[in-house]
C-alpha cells in the first residue's frame, strides 16, 4: 500500500477494504455515536473524524482481529476527549444543548425523556459503559478492553451509572451489583 505525504493514492483505496468497511459499518457507527453522545451533529462529526483517522492507519487496523471494535473504541475515545474539551468552552454553541426530544413522537414519553436527560448528564465514560452494555450488549471483558480498564472498574461504573439513572434493578442484577461492590 503506497502512501504519499500521509495520504494514500485513491487508486489504492478500492483494494484496501476501507471503502467496504465504511459502507458496511458507517451506519452502525453513527447509531453507536448517536447513543453515546445524544447529539446528531456531534455523532456525525465524531464518526467522520474517526473514519478519516482510521483511513490514515487502515493497514494496521485491518490487521486487527476486530476492526469494527477497534474503530468503535476510537469513537469512544473521541467522545470522551471531545466531551472533556468541550466542557471547557463556555460558548460551545453546538454541543451541550439538550435536544428537543419531545419533537420526536418516539420520545414523547416523559419517562423516556427524563431517562435520556439523565443519560446525557452522566460522565462520558460512565455513559460509554452503559451504551456498550445495554446498547451493544457487550460482556464486561469486552467493555473493559474497549475502555482500557479493569473488568471490576466496568462493573463499578455500571453500578454508579445505573444508580444515577435511577434504574430499578431486578433481583439478579441487584445481587450482582452487591457482589461487585463487595469485591
Amino acid at each position: 500500500m503506497q502512501q504519499i505525504a500521509g495520504s494514500w493514492r485513491l487508486k489504492d483505496v478500492a483494494d484496501s477494504g476501507f471503502a467496504a468497511f465504511v459502507a458496511d459499518r458507517q451506519a452502525a457507527l453513527l447509531r453507536f455515536a448517536m447513543v453515546l453522545t445524544g447529539d446528531a451533529v456531534l455523532s456525525q462529526d465524531i464518526v467522520a473524524d474517526v473514519l478519516s483517522r482510521a483511513f490514515e492507519r487502515w493497514p494496521r487496523i485491518a490487521q486487527t482481529e476486530q476492526p469494527y471494535a477497534y474503530v468503535r473504541r476510537m469513537v469512544i475515545n473521541e467522545h470522551v476527549s471531545w466531551r472533556r474539551r468541550l466542557r471547557r468552552f463556555a460558548f460551545g454553541f453546538d454541543r451541550e444543548f439538550s435536544q428537543p426530544l419531545a419533537d420526536d413522537p418516539a420520545t414523547t414519553h416523559a419517562e423516556r425523556d427524563a431517562m435520556l436527560r439523565r443519560l446525557a448528564s452522566l460522565p462520558p465514560k460512565q455513559r460509554a459503559v452503559i451504551v456498550l452494555r445495554f446498547y451493544d450488549d457487550l460482556p464486561d471483558a469486552e467493555i473493559a478492553a474497549a475502555m482500557h480498564c479493569a473488568e471490576s472498574t466496568v462493573r463499578s461504573n455500571i453500578a454508579r451509572a445505573l444508580a444515577a439513572l435511577r434504574i430499578e434493578l431486578t433481583e439478579p442484577m441487584a445481587e450482582q451489583m452487591t457482589v461487585n461492590r463487595n469485591q
Partner: protein, 372 residues
C-alpha cells in the same frame, strides 16, 4: 421507577435519531471549522477530497454535493459600526505563554469572563485565565496544595460540572485529566488543565510559562457587513498557523500535515448568558496547494437544517485569488436560531481580507467595521 428494559428502549430510540450516512458526508467539513479541532485544517480539507470518494466507491449511492447553491436577498441589516462585542475584553488577549516542554500555544480563545490558550502536546493542555473576581475553583478534599512560584493554589483531578463549574477533586475515578489552579493576582485565578494525566511538575512548568505582562489584539480575516439584529459576539477562537505535527493520544496517532490560520466567532443574543451562544461563524483560509477543493467560489451552499440546528457553508474569494472556506451553524433553542436566509446573508456579506492565509493581514477586532 424505570427499569433496564426502559433504558434499552430509550437507547434504541436514541439510535433511531442517528443521522444518515449521506448527511455525514455532506457535513464532513463542519467539525473542522468549529472550536477545539485538534486535527489540522489541512487534514480536514484533504478529507473532504478523499473520504466522500471512499464512501462513493463503497456504496451504491453517490453522495450529492451540498443541496443548493443559493443567491440570497440583500441583507436586511447593514452594520457600519464596530463588531458588537459582548465584552470589550474579547478584543484583546491579556496573557501569553512562552514555549514550554516543547509545547506552544496553537489556539487562543477570548470569551466573556475568561481567556484561554490551547497548547500542542499529547495531553491536550490548556491554560485558562480569569479576571479578578471572575471565577474561583471549587476545592474538594481530594485536591492538594500546590504553588506556582510564590502564588498559592492547588492541584488534583478535575471534574467539570458545567461550563463554568470546575472542581478539583480526587473523588471521581472516571476522570483522566487533572488541573492546577493558582491565584496569579489577588482574587484572580488561572487554571492549567489536561485531557490526559499530567504531573504537578509538568503543570507547574506550564503555569510558570504564563506571562501576564503582554497584551495582543485579537484579529479576524474578514469584515462583517451584516450580522443579525439582536446578536453579539460572545467568543472568538483563533488558530494560529503551524507546521505539520504528529500527536499521540492513547493508542491513536493524529497526523496533521499543516494547519492554516482560522477563526471562529460565537454569536449569541444580546444580553443573554455567554453559555447560550448559538451561532458559530467559521472562516478558514485555504492554502493554495489545496485550492482544488474549492467549489463555486462566492456561492453559499445551503444545508437542510434539522432538529439539531442549521448549517450553511461556502467558499469566499479574496484578492489575489486566495480563498477561504466559511461556515455558519446554528444550534440550541429554536427561538434563538437564525433562519437559513439570515445565515446565508451573514456568509455572503463577509468581506475577506487579501491573502487571508497570512494572519498578519487580518484585521484587529477593534478595527473591524461593517462595509455596506
Amino acid at each position: 421507577m424505570p427499569t433496564i428494559d426502559d433504558l434499552r428502549s430509550a437507547l434504541e430510540a436514541l439510535a433511531e435519531q442517528a443521522p444518515t450516512t449521506e448527511k455525514t458526508v455532506l457535513r464532513r467539513r463542519r467539525k473542522h471549522l468549529r472550536p477545539l479541532a485538534i486535527a489540522s485544517a489541512a487534514a480536514a480539507i484533504a478529507a473532504v477530497a478523499t473520504v466522500p470518494v471512499l464512501v462513493t466507491r463503497g456504496s451504491d449511492s453517490t453522495p450529492t454535493p451540498p443541496v443548493e447553491s443559493a443567491s440570497s436577498p440583500a441583507p436586511t441589516t447593514v452594520s457600519t459600526t464596530r463588531l458588537p462585542l459582548a465584552d470589550p475584553s474579547l478584543a484583546t488577549l491579556s496573557f501569553s505563554i512562552t514555549p514550554v516542554q516543547g509545547m506552544t500555544a496553537f489556539a487562543w480563545e477570548t470569551g466573556v469572563g475568561f481567556q484561554r490558550a490551547f497548547l500542542t502536546g499529547q495531553t491536550f493542555p490548556a491554560v485558562t485565565v480569569y479576571p479578578p473576581g471572575g471565577w474561583a475553583p471549587t476545592r474538594s478534599a481530594g485536591a492538594r496544595d500546590a504553588s506556582v512560584g510564590t502564588k498559592s493554589g492547588f492541584f488534583g483531578p478535575v471534574r467539570h460540572d458545567g461550563p463554568d463549574a470546575v472542581a478539583l477533586t480526587g473523588e471521581n475515578p472516571m476522570v483522566n485529566g487533572n488541573a492546577l489552579a493558582w491565584q496569579y493576582a489577588p482574587g484572580a485565578w488561572a487554571l492549567v488543565e489536561s485531557v490526559e494525566q499530567m504531573s504537578l511538575q509538568q503543570m507547574r512548568q506550564i503555569a510558570a510559562a504564563v506571562r501576564f505582562d503582554t497584551k495582543r489584539a485579537v484579529s479576524v480575516p474578514a469584515n462583517f457587513s451584516y450580522l443579525p439584529a439582536g446578536f453579539e459576539i460572545k467568543g472568538i477562537t483563533t488558530w494560529l498557523p503551524r507546521a505539520a505535527t504528529t500527536t499521540r493520544v492513547g493508542d491513536q496517532t493524529l497526523t496533521s500535515p499543516s494547519v492554516g490560520p482560522r477563526v471562529r466567532l460565537a454569536l449569541g443574543k444580546v444580553g443573554a448568558a455567554a453559555t447560550t451562544a448559538e451561532i458559530g461563524v467559521g472562516i478558514e483560509p485555504i492554502p493554495p496547494a489545496l485550492g482544488n477543493v474549492v467549489r463555486e467560489p462566492n456561492a453559499v451552499h445551503v444545508q437542510v437544517g434539522d432538529f439539531t440546528g442549521t448549517y450553511n457553508d461556502g467558499f469566499l474569494q479574496a484578492g489575489n485569488g486566495t480563498t477561504a472556506a466559511v461556515d455558519i451553524a446554528g444550534a440550541g433553542e429554536h427561538s434563538a436560531r437564525l433562519s437559513q436566509a439570515e445565515e446565508v446573508d451573514v456568509v455572503q456579506a463577509l468581506g475577506l481580507v487579501s491573502q487571508p492565509g497570512d494572519i498578519a493581514n487580518w484585521l484587529t477586532v477593534a478595527d473591524v467595521r461593517g462595509q455596506p
